[in-house]
């Protein structure tokens, strides 16, 4: 495993590479076990380089553990608004999630439905492209339209366009209070409708999930005490027509509920492949019905669906054409290779994506084959 200690080292390694590199942060996604190429980790390039609570900005090197950032932010009563998932329980992996990995894979949790994704909080980054050049884009200010937005392009490119070395993030204050309304016994259809009603209300719902396993539909509200109390009462009233509800307002209980949704712990330790669908929320129940999955979980009001299927199921073939995409999150190496991790793109888009990879990584050495 190559473990450069600095951006400069990394640039040297990439420039001098003789063959493919399999890039990881903390390795918690388990991509390396079936990837070709020499393993390279950014976990040696660490450290928070700037934190200005009054400007809501934090800059950290890519290998910095997410936990270190969480702790630093917490000391000033702030947090990462996009609530990144921890994959370890679901995937049965070890290692330490890094902030570079979070941004490179655009990992967002339940709050994404209200506040946006990791890519929406990435203000700037530095990366090493496939030639070994160090490139900088964006900055550390919240509004910036200077030149093309490579920050968005690189967020979610899984290392195929460049290896991130530093990210600059917008952060937000922690909230004083949070509560969760729990509705019981709704069908998937009705649950998605209830979540749509909640998200379409002015009450600022910051999480909307449904677990068909427990039959519970969860709606989260966050903010100042009085405000959370007021909004949760109004929202419960609005949702009366769907089902009777109970209210959870103990901060620890609420935090645990949503950590479980975020990390899909309901699937942890159970056999089968795990898929992640990104769809138009109202399409979700039908797709889940057609998937033949053993277990499902709805997040983002139905816009994100987790499915646990029999090993080797070709879910994309089973669902046929649908608006959105299916990503294979957990499967053995053979299935991953056979089906591909990412949904194949329509020809003109695939051509553009391949063109971009060829431009940023002309030798095709950065995670080759990962995204097409």
């Amino acid at each position: 495993m190559i473990r450069p200690a600095s951006e400069e080292d990394l640039a040297g390694v990439v420039a001098g590479a003789k063959g493919p590199l399999s890039i990881q942060g903390g390795g918690t996604r388990g991509f390396a076990d079936n990837a070709e190429g020499e393993r390279l980790t950014t976990s040696g390039i660490t450290g928070i380089t700037l934190y200005e609570p009054g400007a809501l900005t934090l800059v950290a090197r890519a290998g910095t553990p997410v936990e270190e950032i969480r702790e630093r932010l917490a000391r000033d009563n702030q947090r990462l608004p996009f609530e990144p998932m921890d994959h370890r329980a679901l995937l049965g992996t070890t290692g330490e999630p890094t902030i570079g990995g979070v941004v490179a894979a655009n990992i967002s949790g339940p709050r994404r439905v209200m506040v946006g994704a990791a890519r929406d909080y990435a203000l700037g980054l530095r990366f090493v492209d496939g030639r070994g050049m160090v490139i900088r884009n964006g900055g550390r200010v919240m509004k910036n339209v200077t030149g093309y937005d490579l920050v968005k392009l690189l967020s979610g490119s899984y290392g195929t366009l460049g290896i991130l070395t530093e990210v600059s993030l917008k952060v937000l204050p922690k909230v004083a209070a949070s509560a969760t309304i729990v509705l019981g016994g709704l069908s998937d259809d009705r649950a998605v409708a209830a979540m749509a009603a909640a998200l379409g209300s002015p009450f600022e719902v910051s999480g909307a999930a449904h677990d068909p396993g427990t039959g519970e539909t969860l709606l989260r509200l966050e903010g100042f005490d009085e405000s959370v109390r007021y909004r949760s009462e109004r929202l419960a009233e609005l949702l009366k027509t769907f089902a009777p509800s109970r209210m959870e307002s103990d901060a620890d209980v609420v935090a645990k509920l949503w950590a479980a949704i975020r990390d899909v712990t309901a699937f942890a330790g159970k056999e089968g492949d795990v898929w992640r669908l990104s769809v138009k929320p109202s399409d979700a129940p039908d797709l889940v019905g057609r998937s033949g999955a053993k277990q499902s979980l709805y997040d983002w009001g139905g816009g994100l669906v987790w499915l646990r299927c029999d090993d080797g199921t070709d879910l994309r073939a089973r669902l046929a054409a649908f608006a959105g995409h299916a990503t294979l999150i957990r499967a053995n190496a053979q299935t991953r290779r056979g089906l591909g991790i990412f949904q194949p793109e329509p020809a003109p888009l695939a051509r553009i994506s391949a063109g971009l990879r060829a431009q940023f990584d002309p030798r095709g050495i950065l995670n080759p084959g990962m995204m097409g």
């Binding site: 994704a117 890519r119 200010v141 919240m142 030149g147 749509a196 002015p202 971009l356």
Partner: protein, 482 residues
Amino acid sequence: MEMPKPNPEILLKKARIVSRLQEALYDGAVIHDEAETRAYECDALSAYRCPPLCAVLPSSTEEVSAILKICHEEGVPVVPRGSGTSLAGGALPTADAVILGVARLNAVLETDYPNRFIRVQTGRTNLSVTGAVETDGFFYAPDPSSQLACAIAGNIAMNSGGAHCLKYGVTTNNLLGVTMVLMDGTVVEVGGAHMDAGGIDLLGVICGSEGQLGVVTEATLRILPKPEGARPVLIGYDSNEVAGECVSDIIKAGVLPVAIEFMDRPCIEATEAFAHAGYPMCEALLIIEVEGSPAEIDEQLALIKEIARRHNPVELREAQDADEAARIWLGRKSAFGAMGQINDYMCLDGTIPVSALPYVLRRIGEMSREYGLGVGNVFHAGDGNMHPLILYDANKPGDLELCEAFGADILKLCVEVGGCLTGEHGVGIEKRDLMVVQFTPEDLEAQMRVKDVFDPDWLLNPAKVFPLASSATRRAATGVAA
């Protein structure tokens, strides 16, 4: 401002190009008469003008595709245009370019409340997107001050912001998908009603690419439920530093107002004389707006006022009713107009880290004296996006150049303190040559490689964003506009 010399071969074959375009359009129009093309000679950066070869106004994505195919075959540059309100010269034509205006593409294609999106053709104006969903209790969040006129097409190209983006984000954070036509006529669908990209985030780089990657004809936009209400407070201080500290303390306290606007003394004086909003005469004025139910507003404003008082304000005024709220916003909203009463002005748009605010304002004041040109500052203080308005006299020889030099110095200062050249207006031609201040040649090269993929012949929106020297080899290689 240097622009590439028009390609004489294109000028010579104008008649053929016009007739091919006319044949390709069913309902759309081709404007080629010299008197009429003048309507497209500039955008809101009106100091720079150049009538295009011709202008086409298609009425469908298919027509856009047909136009681009022809221009691609003929090797003719194309400048996409929405409403022409760009302040950066983003829609400035060259004499050998076809203006492709999307103004006729203004339909609402789909509204979907359960999934909270609207799909529109991109010639539709920003305000009329909200107009289409407002009676059902929804709105489209990005709200540039030009929202009555500017089109979604331009908003996407410039990744435009607005007064409320502190809470709701800018265009890129509210854009779910686009239909875009590539320079060779290929129509692509990127994104859609779902929330994130399935592969590389192409939508993310299309937004803000200033019309250089493709012509966007349709857009899927996130719409949000309208808040129950909103209320502003006005706070005056006798120093910029203290006002800056107050903003920082409010943000640190965990309140997230929808807007924090900042005006300095020259700006307050000008707007007061113009709009009579009843503003106090002081060094710095903050307008802070929060949203929610009346009780939630009370709760947030109580905290804001408590913080504000700790810094000894010379004025602290909370709107008691809609009328007072309107009066508080009146001055801010007429700030540009008020400065325009005094003289011609140039509006800058750099962003700085909010911690650098007092230093930057002090330096701008010093430079103003050195250059002998007045400047007023209006400012989105929560996110550091400055709008210094430099006053000059367009009729006085040399004044525009002096003003541009002053402007460039301010933008360099923004970069020096860790900020950037433009927060929401875009680079266009205006800041093109300053890009080297913010980016290394490698940084620029990486951006230009993206254009190489989408538009290999470099025909779309020529001479914008990248310094001419940086793009020279690419433009020469394609034989277009040397």
